[in-house]
């Protein structure tokens, strides 16, 4: 990477991080909302641990994986809305007049998602452990969990960038939120895959990548070290990130030609 590109990414990353940190309206819901649902689900579905074959006797430990994915979904909204605002206010047009490279723009914009991802993961894990959840993989597993969580958050952030560049409107990006929530809802979010007794739901959850992201996080919390689940989780996060980045790069080219 040339020093010029590093400098460009650094400048935009700094702006993206500051912008995220200066908007409590972005940070607070991304942390509070998943924690609220964690509390409600952990209390309301506690009896699910009585089902034969349930992998742990602590539903809190089982459901603790969900806030990490919900938090990542907020990253789609935050990164997308920020970029959409840059498009709506003409900031992207001004950037287009500079020799800034597309890769620098996209990477820099993901810095805000990265920082928010770190904050979210630390808060979710800390709150979960304080509330009594287990972390079977120990302290090193906690570190891997943070890295996995941030990888997922950044990967989802690329989809937000693509949506912003494709539609150019913050409202359109916000409108995608329910669409992404469908992926979470139609996964093994509340019960393990083999306890999903409705055939069609089991079939959908089996091909839904979110199921395997959840399983990777759960493996660290419940089992300890399951390298197969972890590799699958990191692989899916990398694939989503790569596809999102390619789509965003393509949309950026079109957007800059259009403007």
């Amino acid at each position: 990477m040339s020093s010029s590109l590093r400098n460009q990414i650094g400048q935009l990353a700094r702006r993206s991080v500051l912008r995220t940190l200066r908007q409590p309206a972005q940070i607070v819901p991304a942390i509070v909302f998943p924690l609220f649902l964690l509390a409600v689900n952990a209390g309301g579905l506690k009896d699910a641990t009585n089902l034969p074959g349930f992998p742990t006797d602590s539903y809190l430990t089982f459901i603790l994986a969900v806030p990490f994915i919900q938090g990542a979904l907020f990253s789609v909204m935050n990164s997308g809305t920020d970029l959409a605002r840059d498009i709506e206010t003409g900031f992207l047009n001004r950037l287009a007049l500079t020799p800034l490279r597309g890769a620098a723009l996209l990477s820099g914009l993901l810095a805000g998602a990265f920082v928010l991802g770190v904050v979210q993961a630390v808060v979710y894990l800390s709150v979960g452990l304080i509330a009594g959840a287990e972390l079977a993989a120990g302290a090193a597993g906690g570190l891997v969990l943070l890295i996995l969580s941030v990888s997922i958050t950044v990967a989802f952030g690329t989809i937000g960038l693509f949506a912003a560049l494709r539609f150019g409107s913050g409202e359109a990006v916000q409108g995608l939120f329910p669409v992404f929530f469908v992926f979470l809802f139609l996964s093994a979010m509340a019960l393990p895959l083999d306890l999903l007794t409705t055939d069609w739901f089991h079939a959908i959850a089996s091909v839904n990548p979110v199921t395997y992201l959840l399983q990777a996080i759960r493996s660290l919390l419940i089992e300890g070290w399951n390298l197969g689940d972890l590799a699958l989780g990191f692989g899916i996060a990398a694939a989503i990130g790569a596809i999102g980045m390619l789509a965003a790069s393509s949309a950026l080219k079109t957007r800059l030609v259009r403007t």
């Binding site: 509390a39 209390g43 309301g44 089902l51 329910p178 929530f181 139609l186 509340a190 999903l196």
Partner: protein
């Protein structure tokens, strides 16, 4: 709309029903013709229903869970009441957007009886909920939902949902008229979400324990849910309490919305 327009142009200011019809007509028209409003209203409850009834079906096998009509019907009642509440909240969003764009001020200038504005939005919210319930009920029946209740009990279930819709609309209207900006959206949405999910959503109250049992026991939505589930299974419980709560909430939030209207009038 033509009727309303001609009355606006007349010597006497339009009455409550004329204003209400005009406001409701416009709001319903916007709802039906804009996919950005229509689609989420229909899809959100369906996703909740599919996710809860499909993904959590095994919860019906938990020891102590003995709801006679099965887990699909158990969750249907929650999703029905939730869609009733969110039909009201989404209408509050529309109201806030109208006031933010200045259209609400034009309503205030044109309407002699301004309470008709709130009534109009409430009628639109009810229409919105009826559309959602039609789709939701159809999907639930296709999915094989068992209905143990009689015709009268099912009517009572939907009557309860109407009360929830009215109460939620008046709550959201009170916020929208005070904030007069779409930025007030989370204020309308979050408390509604909170009170709904702090009720026995996934299992009956008896199977809850700890802090969530304590909160659910005093949450008024619990009585609404239990009565609704009683109606669909043909074993009515807490009927009087549920309707009393529905009427009381509607009355309280009507006062709240009236205060909002005064606030909007004072703001000019």
């Amino acid at each position: 709309m033509s009727g309303a327009t001609s009355t606006v142009g007349a010597t006497h200011p339009p009455g409550v029903s004329t204003v209400a019809r005009a406001v409701a007509w416009r709001s319903i028209h916007n709802f039906l013709t804009n996919p950005a409003f229509l689609v989420p209203s229909l899809l959100f409850p369906l996703f909740f229903f599919v996710s809860f009834a499909g993904g959590l079906a095994a919860i019906g096998d938990v020891p102590g869970f003995d709801f006679p009509s099965g887990y699909t019907a158990f969750q249907f009642v929650f999703v029905l009441l939730q869609s009733a509440a969110f039909g009201g909240v989404f209408t509050g969003f529309a109201m806030a957007r109208d006031f933010e764009s200045g259209f609400g001020r034009r309503y205030m200038l044109a309407a002699g009886h301004r309470s008709g504005i709130v009534v109009g939005y409430s009628l639109a919210a009810l229409f919105r909920a009826l559309v959602t319930w039609t789709v939701l009920t159809t999907v639930a029946l296709i999915a094989g939902m068992e209905v143990g209740g009689s015709g009268g009990e099912i009517v009572a279930l939907y009557a309860l949902a109407v009360l929830v819709n009215v109460a939620a609309t008046l709550w959201a209207a009170g916020v929208a008229l005070r904030v007069r900006s779409i930025q007030g959206g989370p204020l309308m949405q979050f408390p509604t979400f909170l009170i709904l999910f702090l009720a026995p959503v996934y299992v009956p109250l008896d199977l809850l324990s700890g802090w969530i049992h304590a909160i659910a026991s005093i949450n008024p939505v619990t009585a609404l849910l239990e009565a609704g589930r009683g109606f669909i299974s043909g074993d009515p419980v807490l009927v009087g309490a549920a309707f009393a709560i529905g009427v009381a909430l509607s009355f309280l939030f009507a006062l709240w919305a009236r205060g909002g209207l005064r606030s909007a009038e004072a703001a000019g």
